[in-house]
Chain length 364, copies 2
């Protein structure tokens, strides 16, 4: 694998690590020599580099044409509109001739769909970064004059959020895991519940169909996560696409017969895809967010306590520093009763984070 | 990890591989620098080297005192006799003053317990090597004059064979997976069925208790596999000990909440042990034995066919050459119906091996 440094989470456990910069074409070309297939665990490799790799004869999955729709939210919105797939109303602000034209377009949009609206950076945002809630055009003046290429979306009347995780091989085989609920806090996914408890089987089926259709229409090879809103009116609206093993699929490591990581490799290597059957009636993944440092008990001791308390909860720590709010790991709990499994996963993640909630849970 | 070569199965996938010789104390000492704990995936590291590592302040689990009982079958038999644990009748032939004294001892033993008897190399045997069925002392003349240190055991009246897999931490915590049946062919384990279908719950409990007791009495840290015979009289007899993740536990990778590999690491690092709950009612692991080379379809194509036919069967290939009869990989199948799961695992392993059986199964 190509890693930015030997201290990267994946580099700590993988064989054959080469250190290099994914923004540097020479590094990419040198790394690709001798690879059967090149793939990613993030979407930040510049599109022109991917095209250059393909032009040099390297097999790259997902390819630049597909990955574009995960890198460029305006291209994604435009393509989904062409496909008549359900999405929030939106408008591109990036092709306005100047900031005041963009402001006029924003005003027109907000007046039409209703304020507040959501302004998003077209590329580079994640975990709530690059997303702004805008109550009036005044709120957006600084943004519009800034460096980001922007689009605007209606603020959907969200009941809850879901993710439909699928995989597709170059041969065209598709597979879907059960659709999950993704619980958000301050724009960060804190919990994933499989299967999504509040979702009707009809909506779940529709969500899977939408995700498989997007994978096919966009020519995705590998894992595709389609994040969606379920509105209070019971409608599905597509929010984001990710073309790689995704946080909303970490539950599959223990919770499904084939994990998203194994499936991604099967897909990009064009092997038949594996069974996505769940291994328990309820699976909950809770993200461990970085909390305060220098707390007592220290992390390793917390891991000991947690393993002793719940021998069946699995702990994944990524070897990252505990910056507050950063996703530094996750835990997975399996079982039969939603409330029990969920509270166990929640308490375990909070205890590892040592947030306020955790202190209560750790002493009850 | 320390590997004999970068082409070793584990070295192909592990981070931080150092190439060295486990029979060379300098290599071991150099490798151990900076390790919190040193452990093994085989039992061939010389006992005196393990003692030297411990003397140099290295934490070694299992330690030389425990590992001796997996390295030296006479020491193991003697210790189990002291503990009054059920085992075949046996006699040490290695401390006879010469070959004719050993022959006299063998004759006396065979006449007492009944011929034929089993003669075993005290160290170094595996997969049927170092084990001889002896019908009369004449059969053993060459062996007795050879280099092997030998012991003799009665030939038990075996109904079937089982393995009790447990783990123990330095803290003294023990855990046991469901007891499995191990199906042998020509002295090689070809199939592992979890839980052992023909075993009463009383005998299963007794087998687990025996394994946990051995782990405690011998001071084992890590995974311990206790291979046992179930006699036609319904008695348990201890056959062999292995102190490491073992072929009889490969089913736990997909078939149990905590795999033997995770548990071994938890144990040697003195973390609390994980849940050993099975993830399906029936789990069958079948070993892939090396078959003929240059057959059609080639291995990679066979893997494709197999994945397409059974998306839920998991294939593990160790990156070893396909020497006939050698364990080169295994497959795991999970389900509800014993016969169905077993025939699926059997056919998958045979097809990968491309033995005669496989040819039939592949075309039916």
């Amino acid at each position: 694998m190509l890693a930015e440094s030997g201290d990267d989470g994946a580099a700590l456990v993988a064989a054959d690590v080469e250190v290099g910069d994914y923004r540097n074409l020479e590094d990419l070309l040198a790394f690709a020599k001798g690879c059967d297939v090149v793939t990613f665990d993030h979407e930040h490799v510049p599109s022109e580099h991917l095209q250059a790799l393909s032009a040099a004869g390297v097999t790259v999955w997902p390819d630049a044409n597909a990955l574009l729709f995960a890198q460029d939210k305006a291209a994604m919105r435009r393509r989904l509109s062409e496909l008549n797939l359900p999405a929030p109303h939106w408008a591109d602000l990036s092709d306005a001739p100047d900031a005041s034209a963009a402001a006029a377009r924003l005003t027109e949009f907000g007046d039409r769909v209703g304020w507040p609206v959501i302004v998003k950076a077209i590329s580079g945002g994640y975990d709530g970064r690059g997303v702004w809630l805008i109550h009036s055009v005044e709120d957006a003046r600084e943004l519009l004059a800034g460096e980001h290429r922007l689009l605007v979306e209606e603020r959907a009347d969200i009941d809850f959020e879901i993710a439909a995780l699928v995989a597709r091989s170059p041969f065209g085989q598709g597979s879907a895991w059960p659709v999950v609920e993704t619980v958000q806090q301050d724009g960060i996914c804190v919990e994933v519940i499989a299967p999504a408890p509040g979702l009707s089987s009809e909506l779940a089926e529709t969500a899977s169909e939408i995700a498989l259709r997007i994978a096919g229409e966009l020519g995705v090879v590998g894992v595709l996560a389609v994040e969606m809103f379920v509105t209070r009116g019971g409608e599905l609206l597509i929010n984001e696409l990710a073309m790689r093993p995704h946080n909303s699929g970490h539950w599959t490591i223990e919770g499904a017969r084939t994990s998203q990581f194994e499936q991604h490799l099967r897909a990009v290597l064009d092997y038949p895809l594996g069974s996505t059957a769940p291994s328990a009636p309820v699976v909950v993944m809770a993200n461990v967010l970085g909390g305060p440092e220098d707390v007592t008990p220290a992390l390793d001791e917390r891991v000991h306590h947690l393993m002793a308390r719940w021998p069946d909860v699995k702990i994944h720590l990524y070897g990252k520093g505990f910056r507050p709010g950063r996703k530094v790991g996750h835990v997975t709990a399996l079982g039969r009763e939603l409330d029990e499994v969920r509270s166990r996963a929640r308490a375990a993640a909070d205890y590892l984070s040592m947030g306020d909630q955790a202190k209560v849970d750790a002493h009850d």
